[in-house]
Amino acid sequence: MNIAVLSGKGGTGKTLVSVNLAAAAENAVYLDCDVEEPNGYLFFAPEKIIQKNISIQLPVIDRNRCTVCRKCVEFCNYNALACIAGRIILFEEVCHSCGGCRIVCPENAITEEEKVIGHIESGVSKNVKVKTGILNIGETSGIPIIQEILKENEEDQRIRIIDCPPGSACSVMESIRDADYCILVAEPTLFGVHNLNLVYELVSKFSKPHGVVINKCLEGENPAEQFCIDKKIKILGKIPFHQEIGMMNSKGMILVREKESYRNYFINLLNEVTEIRN
């Protein structure tokens, strides 16, 4: 079962919820798809790390063969190619690696070369298999890395927890594509409601079963809770704004591995989500 954990902005507690859910399971795979700044590994400190590079294909134009017919420029839907002063130039960060320019070139002047954009680190932390996607600094899109993380282990029957990137853009859509359930993590503020609404709209559009965990809850007003009641969204749980949680989290500790009460809390949360699915 694939459980995706997402939120409309960073810092709501996606990693807190993801890491603890994975650690609470008997055995699980934790997939960190927040490739721009993955941080789940800081908690798991996985061992036996295996590294795998992820590459994309970029066109290379042979200037001796190119007749500047511009067929490639006209073909490129992303406008990654331009023709200036009698030669074709490529804008790497705009290229989507579709390979179309190579196919349409009548002179066979275009070949492709691999460019490494990041890597995946796989390791083990007790009951959890940890996989971390890491996009190199300066690269525009981490989607190829996310696709690769999610593609591996397709036969794996264990619970897979997908720690998504923040927001509701392309990389998040890619991360939840195969999710059986989406957990939306929100903050109990008006700002939190705005961000919750972004991911709520996204999972609704994708028709994904979903529920909300409200993190950092205090006594009194809770606009995020009210939002869920009004929209009839299932509230899976509320995590208090508690100094102990903050302290443990800031030291890279995994709550469920430290204290029985937290362990029970996340086991219940996991059971609730897996039962909803069944």
Binding site: C76, N77, Y78, C83, I84, I89, V94, A169, C170
Partner: protein, 122 residues
Amino acid sequence: MKIAIPIDENKEDTTICMSFGRVPYFMFIDTESGLVEFIKNDAAESQGGAGIKAAQIIVDHQANILLTPRCGENAAEVIQAAGIKVYRTNGNSVKENIAALKEEKLTLLEEFHAGFHGHGNH
């Protein structure tokens, strides 16, 4: 000398548009012949890379000068590689900016913003 300007509407008393890559039209003014041309910007509806395609239109129409309030990095790369000079407009009046250019009152645009790439956030 041929001047290119991103404009809001395809008529002479139009205003200069704030956007470059996704501007609806470009105006090309040939200062020697006085001929004015309006070209629809096909890049406006692009999924991505609008600035690159819009810059290609400017290059293909053999402009020597581009007057624009702002411009993205990728578009600037295309335009500068073609040897086209980019001046920063002052206010949105086409006439006033052409007059200011002739009087050498416009300054070169030297700061180019990073692309929005249609997302804001990837």
